[in-house]
């Protein structure tokens, strides 16, 4: 069990690094695009839509590691008002519920992925994008995120125990 969680945590980390790579790639693509255009060359036709799909991939790839590091914002008004014991119980219940939700999404996103794979469906923007590529990170990320949620109660920790700065924002 512990090994499974360790492996899932490592995988989450790798997914997160991939997300970092995509953000760097977006920067490079947009700079390349604007430079080409202003230098009078034809910018790549795939630039805009590639960035668009990358944005969705970033949203998916970062899910599990943000669970692991308590990075998804939550409202803790009720939790903060509870006595420590009750707080711990509620926090565990929330984590287990979130894990089940993630596994449910794994199943449904998996169905969408296999459906897209079997049908050979594609999305028509500036180029024909195979739908299975869009769906690909979804089931895997939700599965890892489910494991990361489950890890909190099983190791006696709390998703909500993190320092305040761990919840990001703009």
């Amino acid at each position: 069990m512990a090994m499974l969680f360790r492996a899932a945590a490592s995988a989450s980390r790798i997914f997160f690094f991939a997300g970092m790579g995509l953000i760097a790639a977006i920067f490079v693509i947009v700079v390349y695009d604007v430079t080409m255009r202003n230098a009078g060359f034809t910018p790549p036709y795939w630039g805009v839509n590639t960035v668009e799909y990358a944005l969705f991939w970033i949203a998916m790839l970062t899910i599990p590691d943000l669970v692991r590091t308590r990075g998804h914002v939550s409202v803790e008004v009720v939790l903060a008002a509870l006595a420590p014991a009750a707080r711990a119980r509620l926090s565990s219940a929330v984590s287990i519920f979130a894990a089940l939700l993630c596994f449910f999404m794994t199943w449904r996103a998996g169905l969408a992925f296999t459906g897209a794979w079997m049908s050979g469906n594609y999305e028509v923007r500036a180029f024909d994008m195979p739908e299975w590529i869009i769906y690909l990170p979804m089931p895997i990320s939700f599965f890892l995120a489910g494991l990361m949620f489950l890890r909190f109660p099983l190791t006696g920790e709390s998703y909500h125990a993190g320092p305040a700065e761990s919840s990001g924002g703009l």
Binding site: A24, V30, V34, A164, E165, L170
Partner: protein, 433 residues
Amino acid sequence: MAWLEWFLMLMVPLLVAMALGLPVAFAFIAVNVIGAAALLGFGVGVGQLVSNMTAGVTTYALAPVPLFLLMGSLFFHSGLARRVLDAVDMMIGRVPARLSYVTVATGTLFAALSGSSLANTGMLGTLMVPEMRRRGYKNHMALGPILGSGGLAVIIPPSALAVLLGSLAQIDIGALLLAGLVPGVILAVLYAGVIYVQSRIDPSAAPYYVPEDVPLARRIVVVLREVAPMSIIVAAVVGTILTGTATPTEAAALGTLAVLILAIAYRALSWDSIRKSLDDTTRVTGMTFLLITASSTYSQLLAFSGASSGLVRWATGFDVGALGILLLMLLVLLVLGMLMDQVSMMLITLPVFLPLAMTYGFDPIWFGLLMLLMLEVSFTTPPFGLLLFVMQGVAPPGTSLGTIARAATPYIGCVFLLIALLIAFPQVSEVFR
């Protein structure tokens, strides 16, 4: 089912799940699953839900969000921010409450150079609090200006939050960014006014000291060397949007490029600062984009069930007039802002507010700016105020959330004053149109 039943069915579980501490994005997803199954049947509904989720953030208009964040992170992690602060510190001479003014002036500059108020506040706090403590500044003179000017990053372009609002509300993003410039500077002036009044009321709150005397020639050299080059960053972002050379997305990329080039020029760039900046950016982007992914489908369900249109019809049925509706919306934002983060607030309110704003003929950019100001307020309103938490992280041990929130109160007052000003004189938002 009538619209009210659907509205309650979709809204109540969401608020309960959020209140119980389920991370907001997952609360949206859970309610989406239930709502889609109830509206469309389980197989079809959830299938369409998963499919629609892929459409939530796949829009080019959202690309500036990670880029503005990256730009801000690089600005801080490379140490460029520290240089700006030191230069400003040297500029401001012998005045009472000197360090409070230094904070606001630096914060305003940071706001023009970074798109993230969280990063700004963290940076200002880390840099200014120790020095202010050493000089015997009381909490309201030390923490207040940091919280106030940290939030300026939202209003003064570049602003990731403005991009997000513009994209979600289909407001012209470039115009919304530019519209914040003048009100942002007005706000900074109001902040200086607060400091002046506070230091007159209680001079001992910010003990006077004589700063190191710097000869004029040296000051000029420092400004030319440390601050003037930063205008390249402003030119890359605001300048390119203003002159129409670049879209907001491209301006964000060019701004990031400008920061990189400056950091290299100052020999301040390291692989470590790049990695840290990318790490920060990816965290916040991922968190935000999952929220949008989840909540965009929530808005679709609200619209599909007829709840959105029903609510609008109901709300416009009252005879409170345009101003009444506007104040009501601002009040809702104030209350929500006490409980949740800015992105969630936008996502919950926009599907209802936008049709209302359209019905009453509000100018979209002006309305967007007012919303943005309320989002800034929500950063410092307890119990859930992200900037309060950030402050607590850098303030001296034992500083309570209440103390920090009280320090921010006069600065929130300034924002309300600005909102009143914008309602009375909407042309303030139209300077760059």
